[in-house]
């Protein structure tokens, strides 16, 4: 399976990975090798078979939107999370201009 230079550049962009030409060439070669390996599944007859996305046996159920007495304590506060960065201003994390 061949991947074009244009395709690997597009995939890198979708993946938010800024890579130089040398690394792009390595990643492209690795991807081609993997596709060669996984291509074997294309011959399997699966018509009428439902896909499996999870094996936890849980089903989505609707419940009433009501406040429960029990609040899950994740053991972490907003301040704990903000403290993971040094460059905060007024309880906000500073990032380069977005708009």
């Amino acid at each position: 399976m061949m991947i074009t230079d244009e395709e690997i550049r597009h995939l890198a962009e979708l993946s938010s990975l800024t890579m130089n030409d040398e690394e792009l060439a390595t990643r492209k070669s690795d991807l081609e090798k993997t596709l060669e390996h996984i291509d074997q599944i294309c011959t399997v007859e699966t018509d009428g078979t439902l896909p499996t996305f999870s094996v936890d046996g849980l089903e989505t159920v609707w419940r009433k939107d009501e406040i429960k007495d029990e609040i899950i304590d994740y053991g972490v506060t907003g301040d704990d999370l903000l403290a993971l960065r040094q460059d905060n201003i007024n309880h906000m994390t500073k990032v380069p201009k977005v708009l």
Partner: protein, 313 residues
């Protein structure tokens, strides 16, 4: 004797969070990341007085979400959801389970029992502690023609009184490829938070897009980048049906094959049986010589009872 008295020490791989300790999850981006919370599995061990050590050589057990065979160690992967994954940096939501590499079978059951059980912080954790359930003892063991277990092991099991049946899993040969596809697709979402904004090493860039791109390119491992690129390729509009949906359908075929087999046998023995247990969520034990035993859903104790009887290391 309590678990605390018998378990010497326990280590954990670097994708388990422990409050204040560096947790890099094998990514340069997280090389200085000190989490503000601990994984539930780690917390439960500490609460039960288990000594946690950094060096895996000093530990009898090493917590892991990996299932690959390792020299002189037994890998135990419990039923999917048996142990909470809260606080564990997993790349694949539907495949990874908190298990461990064990140097010894002594104290393994109490160790797993401490970690298992419902955790409100992980909605995929099972409501019951599967290591407290009364096991249905294994009597009939299935072996595969295409992936035969060593003849010595089969003889040993026959001598122990187990009945051996040869069974067939026609789609098992696709399991590794299916796992690779599903793991890559799931890795995209699970690594999206590694962007240099919330935590971890941040590249010095003037635009937010360049900050994401450079932080990730410099901070993620080659293996993770390959996974993300493959994931984006297979879930693209052109390839979604061909690869991702196809893999999810073959996963169903593999699970159906296993269901049929477990109508006849109590566990499955093969060498090797890569990816089958992660894809189906069934419990497994893998030995350093690649011998894998897969048990029934939630019959983790029966599986551990069997390997104790086999006395294989």
């Amino acid at each position: 004797m309590s678990a605390k008295e018998t378990i010497i020490a326990c280590a954990f791989q670097d994708n388990f969070l422990r409050k204040g300790d560096i947790c890099s999850a094998s990514q340069k981006l997280l090389e200085n990341f000190r989490p503000p919370l601990s994984a539930t599995a780690v917390e439960r061990l500490e609460a039960n007085g288990i000594t946690l050590v950094e060096n895996t050589d000093e530990a009898s057990f090493t917590l892991s979400t990996d299932t690959a065979p390792r020299k002189e160690l037994i890998n135990i992967k419990p039923t999917f959801g048996a142990i909470s994954r809260f606080g564990v940096a997993t790349q694949t939501s539907s495949l990874e389970t908190v298990g461990c590499y064990a140097k010894t079978l002594d104290s393994l059951k109490p160790l797993m029992k401490i970690m298992a059980g419902k955790d409100p912080k992980d909605s995929t954790s099972l409501p019951e502690n599967v290591f407290e359930l009364t096991p249905n003892p294994i009597k009939i063991i299935g072996t595969l023609k295409d992936s035969p277990a060593p003849s010595g092991t089969i003889e040993k099991l026959k001598n122990l009184g187990y009945e051996i049946h040869e069974v067939n899993l026609p789609n098992a040969k696709f399991a590794e490829a299916v796992r690779e596809i599903i793991a890559s697709a799931e890795a995209i979402g699970n690594t999206a938070c590694l962007d240099g904004v919330r935590y971890g090493t941040r590249a010095s860039e003037n635009s937010i897009a360049a900050l994401y791109g450079t932080s990730r390119a410099e901070g993620l491992s080659a293996e993770t980048k390959n996974k993300i690129l493959l994931g984006n390729y297979i879930i693209s509009h052109e390839n979604y049906d061909k690869y991702f949906l196809k893999a999810a359908r073959i996963r169903t075929l593999i699970i159906n094959d296993l269901r049929k087999v477990f109508d006849e046998v109590d566990c499955l023995l093969g060498s090797p049986l890569p990816a089958l247990a992660p894809l189906s969520g069934l419990p497994s034990a893998t030995f350093s010589d690649s011998l894998t035993i897969i048990g029934r859903h939630k019959e983790d104790v029966a599986l551990l009872d069997l390997i104790e009887k086999m006395e294989v290391k």
